[in-house]
């Protein structure tokens, strides 16, 4: 019997000790005492009954326990909770993981919940403090709801007051703008009518201007000018239509209806609306920017009108167009006959300055008898132009060619040739607008000394306006 007794005693002892060890192991395992771990901190103003040994869960998985709670040294400080988390879960605990105190079920233990961090955040270093969120309290929530409702009630009054102020401002704005808008529209109409008249006149080919367009270069620039002009006219018309539309909208009070609709929406939005309206009314806010935009638009429109008026003025003063406005007998040089020129029909009413240059002063004779501008001739022309410099802006220059040699046709050719050579030199040297420089083959003109000889050479004539 002793052996069976010994066996029973041995079994009793070993099984007992083993069971005790199993108990120890189970507790240790639950407490994560046998796995590698790291420590972290989280700070809370309110602990909600969290205790030492409370579970720590990372993403819902049991991850460790609270090992120490440091009491705050000052009222404004927080409780510092030290926790131990198994190393296996370290990769998901990031610097932006948030610790919160939670309850297991309704009556369960308090535990520390740690959210998994964002992938781009770094893993929380051991011993660091991770951000925390204060525990949720149902009583706090109710209080918060009550406070919010009271605040909303208070804000409603402010909101309605703000809305009526805003509506008043909008009305005042519309009233103040109406006068300007009407002025602009009437001006626009007037300008458009003028433009229409001009365009019609030109299209009808009335006066020299219409004919002027036959010249290719002139026609190109004129047609470009017209297209720009028409664009401007179109824009003006569009602007005037838009303003008519805006005005009619204002008059129909559609905008006010919209504001009323917005007002209704604002009522539903309460607190948000309050902020929005405060923002709207604030300096630099939407309200101001709306008013600012409208004023700017009106100013721009005014500016556009004034520049259009300026352009019209410039057009009136332009070499080609002023005749249209001033007198309709302003002739194109290319279509002026020598006879008409002599009669003074070209640029009638303008002052003229003339410089005579003799053939011998201007030209050198080539071996084949042709005439070329000599260096001395060029210097002479330069001197003449220097004298004419003060008349040059927007003034027409006519180079008259003279020659009394040979037959009439030869006289015409030679006088044309002389005038063209001088014109070419002047245009190139002084960068004159070719449209403003013309030639006139005068042919044989008797010299003033009654010697029976003819003028040989050129006369440079500048036509200019009387000074204002």
């Amino acid at each position: 019997m002793p052996s069976s007794r010994n066996f029973a005693v041995g079994l009793f002892l070993i099984v007992g000790i083993l069971l005790f060890a199993v108990g120890l192991f189970m507790i240790g395992d639950r407490r994560k005492l046998f796995s590698q771990d790291f420590e972290l901190y989280a700070e809370f103003k309110e602990l909600s009954g969290l205790q030492n040994g409370a579970d720590v869960k990372v993403g819902g998985m049991a991850a460790g326990e609270v090992i120490d709670i440091e009491v705050p040294p000052q009222p404004q400080s927080k409780f510092r909770v030290k926790m131990r988390i198994i190393e296996k879960l370290h990769p998901v605990v990031r610097t932006d993981s948030i610790a919160t105190i939670q309850t297991e079920g309704v009556l369960g233990n308090k535990f520390l919940k740690i959210d998994q961090g964002a992938p781009q955040a770094q893993a929380a270093p051991p011993g660091s403090t991770i951000p925390s969120r204060e525990p949720f309290d149902f009583a706090d929530l109710l209080q918060q709801i009550r406070d919010t409702v009271e605040e909303v009630q208070g804000k409603m009054g402010d909101v309605f007051a703000s809305i009526s102020t805003t509506s008043g401002n909008a009305n005042a704005l519309i009233e103040s703008v109406r006068g300007d808008v009407e002025n602009i529209i009437s001006t626009s109409r007037k300008v458009t009518d003028d433009v229409q008249e001009i365009t019609d006149g030109i299209r009808a080919g009335r006066g020299t201007v219409g004919r002027l367009l036959n010249d290719e270069k002139v026609a190109d620039s004129a047609s470009k000018a017209f297209s720009d002009f028409e664009k401007a006219a179109g824009n003006t018309r569009e602007i005037s239509q838009q303003f008519t539309h805006i005005l009619s909208e204002f008059q129909e009070r559609k905008i006010l209806q919209e504001i009323e609709q917005i007002t209704k929406n604002v009522r539903q939005l309460t607190g948000q609306a309050k902020d929005a309206i405060t923002d709207f009314q604030a300096k630099g806010g939407k309200g101001e920017s709306l008013t600012g935009n409208l004023s700017r638009t009106i100013t721009s429109a005014g500016e556009a009108m004034s520049s259009l008026a300026e352009n019209m003025e410039a057009l009136k003063r332009s070499f080609f167009f002023r005749g249209f406005f001033k007198n309709r007998g302003f002739y194109d040089i290319n279509n002026v006959t020598v006879a008409e020129y002599r009669e003074g029909k070209f640029a009638a009413g303008k002052l003229r300055q003339q410089a005579w240059i003799y053939e011998t002063e201007l030209f050198a004779h080539g071996s084949d008898g042709s005439e070329e501008l000599s260096a001395a001739g060029k210097s002479r022309l330069d001197a003449v132009m220097a004298e004419f410099q003060r008349y040059l802006r927007n003034s027409a220059i006519i180079v008259e060619g003279y020659s009394g040699k040979g037959l009439t046709s030869e006289q015409f050719l030679l006088s044309t040739d002389r005038a063209l050579k001088v014109r070419e030199y002047l245009v190139e040297k002084f960068r004159l607008d070719p449209n403003y420089v013309g030639t006139m083959p005068m042919g044989a003109v008797a010299s003033k000394d009654n010697s029976g000889t003819y003028w040989e050479g050129v006369a440079v004539v500048v036509f200019y306006d009387k000074p204002d």
């Binding site: 009793f12 005790f20 108990g23 507790i27 030492n52 369960g108 233990n109």
Partner: protein
């Protein structure tokens, strides 16, 4: 009257002092050779191994009953998931140590009191003394030590059989796996719930061994004296065990206030 109460108090204190000294002497003697290993083994068999079935059955039953009780209360709060944890905690902290202690005091205390009382009355102890055998060491020390060793082991048996009993009761109602049940049972437990509660049963064993041995060792008055010693062993050791439990629990809470609280 007051004199009589005073005399009773004095007698009770004197008896407690005598038992205390008896126990201390047993502890002191335990550390001195010769160590009666064979006799200790025999006592361990009697006190430990042979009590194990009783403890196992009792623990299993207590587990079932407690599980059913916990379910009826926790169900109201929808906290059935806490049943394993509640059961394990109450078993480990208090029920297993106390119930095992009372059962052992009933079964072993009565046995030791009767056995030693019989030996005293039949002058077997005197015979041993005449053979130059240290009867105290041979009879008392081995029994006290055996009680002190067996008690924590029996308590552990009771805790585990209780948990198993709880699982059986639970599995009838819900399809909870043993693995999950066992995990949940230990989920809220800490070392401080388990280790001090197990170690305090060493004190229970010491009380049972000492009181019963004292009463049996000092029994007088023939068969009647043996009966009295046997009865008194159970009663006194049970009462002392319950009283000592109060003090011990208080001490544990004092030393580990946060964990237990």
């Amino acid at each position: 009257m007051i004199e009589r109460i005073g005399a009773l108090v004095v007698a009770a204190l004197a008896w407690a002092g005598e038992v205390g000294l008896f126990g201390l002497r047993a502890l002191r003697e335990a550390l001195r050779p010769p160590f009666e290993a064979k006799e200790l083994l025999r006592q361990l068999y009697d006190i430990g191994s042979r009590s194990a079935p009783l403890i196992a059955v009792a623990g299993f039953s207590v587990g079932i009953v407690m599980s059913m009780h916990s379910r009826s209360s926790l169900e109201r709060f929808g906290a059935e998931a806490l049943i394993p944890s509640v059961l394990a905690l109450s078993l480990a902290r208090e029920i297993a140590p106390l119930v095992a202690g009372l059962l052992v005091s009933g079964r072993v205390g009565a046995g030791i009191g009767a056995e030693l009382g019989g030996m005293r009355v039949t002058e077997q102890i005197d015979a041993l003394e005449s053979l130059a055998v240290d009867s105290f060491k041979y009879l008392v020390v081995t029994r006290v030590l055996a009680c002190m060793i067996a008690q924590p082991i029996l308590t552990t048996f009771m805790s585990f059989t209780g948990i198993v009993g709880g699982f059986v009761a639970e599995t009838v109602i819900s399809d909870l796996s043993f693995r999950l049940y066992f995990d949940r049972a230990f989920s809220s437990m800490q070392f401080v719930d388990y280790v001090p509660a197990s170690l305090k049963t060493v004190v229970f064993g010491f009380i049972i061994g000492t009181v019963s041995s004292y009463l049996g060792y000092n029994a007088a008055g023939g068969a009647e004296g043996v009966g009295k010693a046997s009865t008194k062993s159970v009663v006194y050791s049970s009462i002392l065990l319950i009283l000592a439990n109060v003090v011990l629990v208080k001490m544990i809470i004092f030393f580990f206030p946060e964990e237990i609280g």
